[in-house]
Symmetry: C3
Subunit: 681 residues, 3 copies
């Protein structure tokens, strides 16, 4: 791509009755600096109004109009929403819910991913689209389907799940009985045909097992696998006629139930839809770090630039309270994507629809059909900046620190019963804990990757693995090798409990040789009630443990960095450091709300030689990120406070890409301001 | 009717085993001043114990006994609860739930309103009843069924819904596709047969669409329409043999899901069941105004006197906490109905049943079967007052102010997603907002109508239309005409967003020429979190906006009455006034909790020349209402405080109908007291 | 039994792959003082891997190994969890849920209790087990199934329910119509075949009646009855080949939905699973009293020693927060069982399973497979004490006070609508109220039975019957006789409202002659909002009523002990005392949070001559209990505080069974300490 993509979702088929609207659209997109739109994700009912009858006239017309006006497009495959005639004629395309009820036609993102007929129908329409537009010069990428998600519980999917298990367990039901530990409560199976989908909602006496965690885990893996299998069929259909155009799909944030790392292999380009809930009452810096974590994760999937494919220019319509972005915030949060490695910054949506559920979702053009609005002005301002970022495309992010966020680990942590119990996901707080461990890196302006346990560990000096409960044999080996070769590895309470099938490691935790890496073993857990805390003492300071306190026994050569100051384990270690090979392993046995992590990681950043691009400390709520290409470096300095801050630059000459102004010492940012500086050539 | 109806629900069929109970009942009803009972709503299983076999013996006996003792009766048609043999033999009479499961026999108010068999069975029993009792001199009115409500999702209803849509959209599926804006998300239908009921619960991936608001809205209209269609069949059956007896049905309060204004045309007499939750922790004056709003609405349906057909003499049994009415409160709240235009004040129920769910619902006679109880004494006291109100029957209420409460608007407001989101009804607060705008009129003792947008606007000087989001072409014309001809019209944020199918008006809001009426256009909305407020400045005073702040642009000739004092729209208008034709339009762009409304409406009441029957200000928590007939006027002064208040009368001579005492200056009321004065002949 | 059973659940079949684990188990059990295990409750899939093919090899081996090492066993019948092949081949064995959906295979405790096939299959396996192990010298008792519970809604169960009703109502549908008061709302049935299961969840328009309380109550009775009927079939199968070995089943706590008093007749030995939620934030003494109440109830079922068959040695895994027991607490709470009459103190579980839902439930041996842990040490310490309690087995508890906790009454109270409404069980607080009335007896160290209304009243001097809403004819007679013959009986608000079918007594409450016993009648109820209280004055002190205030009218010879100090019933009686025959009846008309009960029961204990084994007052949070056999007495003094207390002994010589130390005056206990003293020979 030779330009920073700037634009968003566009639904011209909604406005075919009034040709003036299309004219307004194109003219105003150009005023707003839009160079790219996403088209067609919801056009199937228009493109194939009756089975096998295609009508591409609107798409022919609009792609032409856009192209001659210099606006390119991603073209969606329409599998996210099928025509009503299809559901009526072929009910098997409709998803079956967990309660085994087949849904009625309606909604979106709810097809059966196994149905042969649905695969055939999507293949047909995708081939037609690829034949017709696959070589269009305005086509930037294929936008495969839309926000894949959810699961189907039909009989065809049930059979596919049994096949999946047969493959995984070499058709040996006793291997499965062992890995899922089914002798427990007399749950052994006699054949794969006896296996039913699990009951994820964990209702007693429900439909299927709610307590066999190996089953639940394999089912979640199957859902990701079958979703990708469906996507591969879609991709194959477009590649047949459009082999050189990149394919992408819009992934979601880290709360999504699909393991997004697994999509990397199949896609040319990673995209995601960014709906960070700005102004929801959470402090802006915390929200910004959450957005940053998501950006970093999506960049890390392929360790390449990515697209932010959706984001609202103003407000959403699905939160409990849908606040518009305050002045300046759209500019800041849109460029945040570029700061973290995006080569495209796109919105949902160009124009509010007149009716139905999203008619009040934020858009560049509201029902008033005017451009003398705050939202339009702010979007157009960012458009100007986007133009100045052409050269940035392809620039990479150099990160020497990484935080592990692992979907399979999350599933296993959220499911297990005990300690904080598995009935409700909320009490385990895996996601929140990963974000808390990430925050000090964000606050210190350190480029950081977000990887999973299967990612390559070799690029990093420091890896943080919060609550890495699931450590299979391969992960144990990787951690050993990483530390032995000089890496710094930070683990926490709950590390190394189970293998990849949620089967506990025997002989104590952390698992197997991780005891040697960390230099300790764990005896038991205390769980704190929400109103309880336990004092932790470290280097003359006091901290507060919440939620979890693990009681651990250090080896002789293990240093105790912090001890518990209360409770029946008073005086026992709360944090340990252990040298192993050329590296060092840290073990944090308690849950901290941030104060201890800030102190510890601040120190580790200094000791490990991780570098921020500016002088530390950064003002609270401000941060910086860098990208580089061909020896040129871009420095993004971002202020998520509503008040001004001053940042101290490192030695050098920095040029503001918007104003051309140069800086060499201090730089002042207004509230919610972002500065983009180039330097280092 | 020649007497104020006083009495209530009576279920003598429960006590056939013990004839002494009937004797007690009749004797004690007379002691309590009861002149009317409601009979038979739940008697079907007794009247037709086996299919086609009728046994009217108990009804013959009790109607005779009542009549000779001077007690008249409303006779219920029993469709609210069918015999068990019918459900067993004809399952189609049982309702199908939204999840498409047919219910089992049991409960009440849960028949299929489309089933031909159920219509036939109800027609048969209604004809039998009308033949037998239709000319009985004690028969006051037909009580058609009981508390109609709910919806059925069976195939027959599904087909009826499709027919309803075919009729509405002239059999043109593309008109429907347009009005429901179905090109959005590719939801266009190819034929009416593809349409399924919506999923009202808005569950993702549920049974049917949860996000096509045009569909949802038409479905809600269909439910009202089909309920009325069923009721018309019931009425036709009784009118065949009893053409001169008025028909009524007991409607519910404003939270009910049926559009009660639509019932007016089919009924001779409007009734409603008043279960205002007295003593639930909300201040009594607020509860009283809520009750008043409901009374006014039911009076306004036909602009005629109505009946309060149910109310508890003591406590209910279905609230979380069921407190008995404190001493005096039953008298006050029962006469409140008369104050607002009721010609009948009835209770549920005479006698507590011995078993089942309502055995502990308040009643005049408890299980103890005694009359030396507080409840009996209080009911009998009000009975004495009721006797003195014979002449009041037929007296009308003169109201020059009206508040619009529109069911279709409520449905549309509660459904839309965005701003405060549509997931939960609670956050939109349409009902609560209407009540808040009504309260100042109540507090100032102004007779007020509660109308919908289709009502005649011509009788009023002042119309208040809170959150009138839905303004179809006809409503726009009515508002224009009303203001042009000299009316004062008050609109608020959210006014004029959509047409009757929830399709947004283009070119900005408020819709179409309403921009000219109000002299402004709206750009965007701010939504406040529950913990946020925004200052509003008006005439040297400060108020606090909550929930919603609309950012508006006034025309040049528009007066700004209040401005925002904070946020990014600081200094922009929060309230505007605009002269249009001979009238004036006010636009309140923010949500106020009451203080601003109190000040504004106090002023408008003075300016518009609306008159209270007493000297203002009234003491807080006290109010007054008037009725008039043949030049005679009744003044009800009501004190909802638990302490005494003094009210200043206007010049005149006022006679207390109970004591004969006369007043001309001040009148003192005890806590929870009501005074009824006649004057003006 | 000749020794105090000490041990717990053991699942050796999970570890067949690794024979070293069994070796460790046996060796370490002996170190921990275990003499008994529970085996086989979840072994069916291993014992009968294919239909009719049995494999007892693991059970043969482990029973042998245990026995030769001096460890005995309870042998479970495996009906709690069936093999997967059975569900596949005979779907009728799977339970049908209340929503009429048949569950899928999975989970446990979810068979149809009516299915002839399931009864046949369980009979077969039970006979095989009894044949093979029924005469094994190590077999202590048969452990029939596991934690029976829940209900099935299949057609076979529906028919069984109709048969149950036919029997109860002598095949006369009109008797049922009367008892369930079905003329109310026209709900009369024409035949038993028309009756459907009730809808217990009380959803409107749901599956079946939600408001016919007679139906609901009979259904709950049926569930207990059918569960016992299934259990009897299980017992018959084992007794055929093992007639001399006692049978038991593990009952649950008082929140369980089965009427556990009904199990007494069928079992030789009562057992229960004690999962009192220690350390859940509730003060320890309150939790201890709750545990005590459960122990006392299970002892009272047969008025004989019982077993605590399960309890956790550390933490559970199913609470919201699962805290481990603090040091000392396991010892204290395990011996609490013995203090209240247990002849066995057993744990769940010996060893944590490697996978599935209970892998993190507390156990003696954790995944680390070590014994140098706090949990192991504490369990072994209690094992030593258990050895010293051999002689205690068979010792009985002498109780002269009793609290009535009646399951049928609870069901009726929780279901009725009115006062605090029946929608949610929480607001009625029957269980909590029973516990509050029990607490003063616990705090005063008085041995107390917990009985139901059908129990023998004759052993007691004092009976407390909180909220005894249900008083059938027989109960009325029993209360009359008890008081007439000199007993002290305490009733409260809500006493004596309905008969055994929830049909209200007429002529006022309390029912029938109870008005004469208590010397009063009740007129009405006030219900207080959570934020409201009403002052109650008694003997110069003030107390606070919450939730309920009944307005009562005393007879002339009734003493008023307390009066209301506020509200419209100010000055009327809140507590009355009335002499009847040789005895006295107390009536507490309001709900008290504890202060009044503490004062009143303190006085009644003195006046009635109930004796604590130590000098009163006991320190707060400490208590004592006694058992006796052959003239020897054991005194358990228990301190549930985390700090030391001193208890004053009565005259005598007391010997500590652990240390041999003797005491005669004061005895000091550490925090969480229990002392067991023998005396009195």
């Amino acid at each position: 791509m030779d330009r920073m993509l700037y634009g968003g979702d566009y639904n011209p088929e909604q406005w075919m009755e009034d040709p003036r609207i299309w004219e307004d659209d194109i003219r105003w997109m150009k005023e707003a600096g839009w160079n790219t739109v996403s088209l067609g994700m919801f056009s199937w009912a228009v493109l194939e109004p009756r089975e096998g009858e295609y009508d591409f006239s609107f798409l022919d017309a609009i792609t032409e109009k856009l192209y001659v006006n210099g606006i390119h497009f991603l073209l969606g495959t329409p599998s996210g929403s099928r025509p009503a005639w299809m559901s009526k004629k072929y009910p098997e395309v409709l998803r079956v819910r967990e309660d085994r009820v087949r849904i009625l036609h309606g909604g979106r993102h709810n097809h059966c991913y196994t149905s042969p007929i649905y695969r055939e129908k999507t293949t047909q329409i995708n081939r037609e689209l690829a034949k017709r537009y696959g070589a269009h010069p305005g086509l930037v990428a294929w936008h495969i389907s839309n926000e894949y998600g959810g699961a189907c519980y039909c009989d065809k999917c049930q059979q596919a799940f049994r096949e999946y298990l047969r493959n995984k367990y070499d058709n040996d039901i006793d291997r499965l009985n062992h890995e899922w530990w089914l002798t427990f409560r007399g749950h052994r199976f006699g054949s794969f045909e006896e296996i039913e989908f699990p009951n994820l909602r964990q209702l007693p006496n429900g439909l299927g097992e709610n307590a066999v965690h190996g089953l639940t885990l394999d089912f979640r893996r199957f859902v990701t696998s079958q979703t990708i299998d469906f996507m591969k069929a879609e991709i194959a259909a477009v590649r047949e006629f459009s082999p050189h155009v990149p394919v992408t799909t819009n992934l979601m944030d880290i709360a999504q139930d699909l393991d997004q790392f697994r999509f990397g292999e199949e896609l040319d380009l990673i995209s995601w839809d960014n709906y960070t809930p700005w102004h929801n009452g959470t402090p802006m810096p915390q929200l910004a770090a959450e957005g940053a974590f998501n950006h970093d994760l999506h960049r890390s999937i392929k360790r390449k630039p990515f697209l932010m494919l959706e984001s609202t220019p103003s407000h959403t319509n699905w939160q409990t309270y849908n606040k518009p972005k305050k002045p300046g915030v759209n500019h800041l949060t849109t460029l945040q994507a570029a700061a973290h490695g995006a080569d495209g910054m796109m919105y949902f949506q160009w124009r509010m629809s007149r009716g139905s559920t999203e008619k009040f979702h934020g858009a560049v053009i509201a029902h008033s059909n005017r451009t003398d609005t705050r939202v339009f002005r702010e979007v157009a301002r960012t458009g100007k900046t986007a133009e100045r970022l052409c050269e940035l495309t392809g620039a990479t992010t150099k990160a020497e620190a990484a935080v592990i966020y692992d979907w399979e680990n999350r599933w296993a942590v959220e499911d297990f019963w005990g300690l904080h119990t598995g009935y409700g996901k909320e009490t385990k707080k895996y996601i929140q804990t990963c974000l808390k461990h990430y925050f000090p890196f964000w606050q210190n302006g350190i480029n950081t990757d977000v990887i999973d346990r299967r990612s390559d560990f070799s690029p990093y000096k420091l890896i943080v693995a919060p609550m890495l409960y699931m450590t299979d044999r391969e992960t144990i080996e990787k951690i050993k090798a990483f530390v032995a070769q000089g890496g710094v590895f930070v683990g926490t309470y709950l590390t190394g409990e189970v293998n990849e099938n949620d089967l506990c490691w025997l002989d104590g935790f952390p698992a197997e040789e991780l005891k040697e890496v960390f230099g300790l073993w764990g005896e038991e857990f205390d769980v704190l009630l929400p109103e309880e805390t336990v004092r932790v003492d470290a280097r003359g300071k006091s901290y507060q443990a919440v939620d979890f306190c693990e009681v651990i026994h250090p080896d002789e050569d293990t240093e105790v960095l912090a001890t518990y100051g209360e409770e029946f384990y008073k005086g026992t270690p709360a944090v340990c450091r252990h040298h192993y090979g050329k590296g060092t392993a840290y073990y944090i046995a308690f849950r901290d709300e941030g104060a201890y992590l800030s102190d510890l990681y601040g120190e580790l950043i200094r000791e490990t030689g991780l570098e921020s691009a500016v002088q530390l400390p950064l003002p609270e709520g401000a941060t910086c990120h860098t990208r580089e290409k061909d020896g040129k470096r871009w420095l993004f300095i971002e202020n998520y406070n509503d008040h001004p801050v001053t940042v101290t630059l490192k030695k050098g000459k920095y040029t503001d890409i918007e104003t051309g102004e140069t800086y060499s010492d201090m730089i002042e940012l207004e509230g919610y301001e972002v500065k983009i500086l180039v330097y280092g050539q």
